[in-house]
Symmetry: D2
Subunit: 319 residues, 4 copies
């Protein structure tokens, strides 16, 4: 048995050094956070592994836009699975609008009058949505697609964006597919529907199944960093379930609880029974706010891997 | 100021009598649970109000199938918004398979070997999924639809089911529309995709937007019981947002927290800033396991309304 | 394997009938709530069992005063372990003051000006504390004790109270010992200290150890209903630990999480490693607001046991 | 309004640089964590401020022993308020025993057989408790105290310890008083009681009231870092309440929720109504595992204050 060494910190300490301290020195949440970095490092160095990043929650209002983009730019992930809200928030910023610092106890009736939409302690002005409508409608008019997968649609959309910080654009530039099974449930989805009233329907969400299942079949090993639960977590798990071979590496960061039975709070251990995670999988549940844990994990990885270049998996899609 | 009267209980006490005690007698969660019943009763008696029920989480493995069906049969709701997993679990039972009692600490590696999939303390055998595939494939072969809304598809599907306890069937029989924006992200969605490889694509999830937006516009007032968060919560809120008029009544039951910023844990108060809830809305966040709170709310409503017949709202859809 | 039967409810349904439905019909929190009633019923009918009730949290502001008193009056418990705050809140009400309904989003700066102290959605006026000081000082002047256990002190205090709804008085009347290891950390404790400036120190908290350890040794079996965590939960567990024989029945109701490692959120399963719970113990963690779960458990027990009279354990103390 | 800038990270990034990024760049938990550092820095530089550190939870099994000691050694705190369990765990290590890394899903029945006590994912062997009993009994025999405050007792105890990493010893060496109102509720408290069977009672917990109240009265301003809730949080708040002047700075780190009404999860905003926190107080609730947040806060402070020497407040006690 290894003793708990107790975490030591110093002035000017680096993040990765703290994580190394937490691995040997701490229990509870700190050790799990440290193990997340180790598991991610392992799956990066295991060249057979295709790495999925799933995103749910208000991560862009929460300030994680660059962090997510860096996971792509550093070749730390191969596939992105996300919600329509995250795509919408990314577009809002891509079109020049911003999220703003607020407080959780602001008066919501007054905010409504001022046209400020609150996301816990963050604010998004109505004008962002008005701007989004104008810009996305214009862009959609230039996309000539019919019933393609959301992955294909988002790739084409990304190619048309100018903002080099946009996750959608970065993913397109780096050829990282984005899946968004619930794209319809978002302001973006609503505008796609509006557009489809006059033109052909650009997307067929069902087509994502073939694409993610092909990825799962083609990948000797699979790993996932699951940020938040919801549809993105469920969708990667579903791909494992239907292909009959579970994740070899799995990390989830969530504040949801397992006891009420929902998929968002479900433990990765539970995933083993479904073969959504392999019996021998390295697994780690980090119970933490994603805005705290995710930058720490990324900074630690960038430190450990600064002289290591991972080769990203490239998948061919037939449309 | 009203004093806290302290809850009193007796042998053979009725659920609604406890709720009445909790209203005057308790604080914290108990008072919020009691207020949920009051708000639901108010919106039932406010005949201008269209009532939405949103469902997320493993509610059918959790034993809530009859409870949900009774909300429909009693005309307590007009519109259902749900996840693909809930539809899948409903079909599994409609086709004669069952969920089983287990424990949260069972060995998941052994469960995998036995073909038993764990959902916290509930088990679902693999054979249910095998059976589902057979049956749904057969049914899909008899549905001759092309690019209809999920609502329309689920209505036709419900008409073809035999199990009188099926939520999908009961909803069809009672003409309660079911929306499922993320249907693709489910085993059901996967089978719809498989089917669409050979036949026409039966569904176009985008079409739900028109239908729910029409409902929102046609409804003088709107209320919602939000069970769990996720896409169903977000989708009803989105319909309010794009139509510019918030919910007049809103109850949510969740164990998620607001602080990490995700929509599932977001307070109903926050919804006011977005005009997803009206400034004057009656609102109530119940922080409780849905399997505990939902049957209590229903039993209390059935007691209070046993001599009251609500007229359900019927909406016309143009396909 | 037993199938999940799905909960059924009817108008005028009784609480215990719902609990019976939840036992067979539900998973997740509902089943655990139902199991709590079964385990409590078992330990009541197991005549070898001494039953501890531990209380932490603002249960009296939350309206649980009668509920707790009824556990005593029905002979459902033998020993009470509580916090100083619960005793303080009980005295506040015993002296004629009340807690009031408020809201969680009231302006706390204004409440401070108005002399209203907020406990989430409940308010307690400053005058209650002023009144408490006057009355308790007077009563303490009539108690002629020196360095007795808190149990003895609270027994004598209870005998001097008039309010028949007071938990302290009911416990004294029914000869149910109250332990309060952290009594010093409360307004009551502060007043005992003030009093001890002029007179002898009435209490010696250490003496509780002998008394609870004696109870543990004398009891062939032991059970506990643990409401909230904190010192009361820890103290009963400590008595088990030092006597080397764990609880045979254990139920806890809490909203705290296990992952951060604190005792309040720790699972009852973990207690087995310490022999704080017996290997063969019937155990049940109910993740629920106590104000919801506790009245339901009591009402169900009163229904099941209306023709059953449990004999309370009486312990001799040598001072 | 300030825009959310999005957090940027680099290889070899320092912890404080990440915190600075989180302040401007993030919302939700990350911003709150960053604000905690700012508030702590402010109260350190506000020389009128007496700083309290309250500790609850299994922080020493969790690896926070050096972190806590460093808060003392760096003169970042003036007063420590803690639980008996934390003192017990500190003594266990001071006497040469260790906590060990385990897993949350180990078999607790087998652990019981092996004499390994589990604290979530940490293990403590029974031999530590046997060793503790021997050593503390011996030390108690050399302490000739009667009815002193726990603060005085812990000071004398600290002077007798050899382990330079012991929090109790470091606090004694640095003249930082430790209060422990619930000391009785711990293995240490149990041994003090055993000892008092033969000798005089060494401690009178009530006497802490005078000492902490004197500190509160003598301090022009007051600040607190509240780690976990329970008695330590309540005790510092109580001192504020009875002296009628609230905290000027307050940070809490907890995973408990506010909705069920318990003091551990209560927001610092609520404390304003009680005047436990001043209306103008700088306040910050960090919803995070303490083992993650506390080392980050300390490392950031040590970086910012490496050229700043805070003068610790020294209080005179009359025994």
């Amino acid at each position: 048995m290894k003793p708990v060494n107790h975490v030591k910190v110093q002035p000017d300490m680096k993040i990765n050094d703290l994580i190394l301290q937490m691995k040997e020195g701490a229990g509870f949440g700190a050790r799990r956070l440290a193990e997340a970095v180790d598991i991610f490092e392992s799956m990066i160095k295991d060249q057979d592994t295709t790495i999925f990043l799933t995103l749910a929650g208000a991560l862009i209002p929460g300030g994680m836009r660059n962090i997510i983009a860096e996971f792509i730019k550093n070749n730390y992930i191969d596939v992105l699975i996300t919600t329509g809200a995250i795509l919408t928030h990314d577009l809002v910023e891509a079109f020049g609008f911003r999220h703003y610092h607020g407080r959780a106890d602001l008066n919501d009736e007054e905010l409504q009058d001022k046209g400020l939409n609150r996301i816990y302690n963050i604010l998004l002005p109505n004008e962002a949505y008005i701007g989004l409508e104008k810009r996305i409608t214009k862009i959609l008019g230039t996309i000539n697609l019919e019933s393609v997968s959301t992955r294909k649609f988002l790739y084409e959309l990304g190619k048309l964006l100018d903002d080099k910080n946009s996750i959608i654009k970065v993913a397109a530039d780096y050829n990282v597919p984005i899946f968004c099974p619930a794209i319809s449930d978002s302001v973006l989805g609503y505008h796609i529907w509006s557009y489809s009233q006059l033109r052909k329907v650009p997307i067929d969400v069902l087509k994502e199944h073939k694409e993610i299942v092909d990825i799962a079949f083609e990948s000797p090993k699979k790993g996932a960093l699951i940020c938040g639960g919801g549809v993105p977590k469920h969708f990667v798990a579903l791909a494992m379930q239907v292909t009959g071979k579970g994740l070899n590496y799995a990390i989830q960061i969530t504040m949801d609880r397992p006891e009420p039975g929902g998929v968002s709070g479900a433990s990765l251990q539970e995933a083993v029974s479904w073969n959504k995670a392999d019996k021998a999988a390295k697994k780690d549940d980090v119970i933490c706010d994603i805005t705290i844990a995710l930058p720490i994990i990324l900074a630690s990885l960038m430190t450990r891997l600064k002289n290591y270049q991972r080769k990203r998996k490239i998948f061919e899609f037939y449309e």
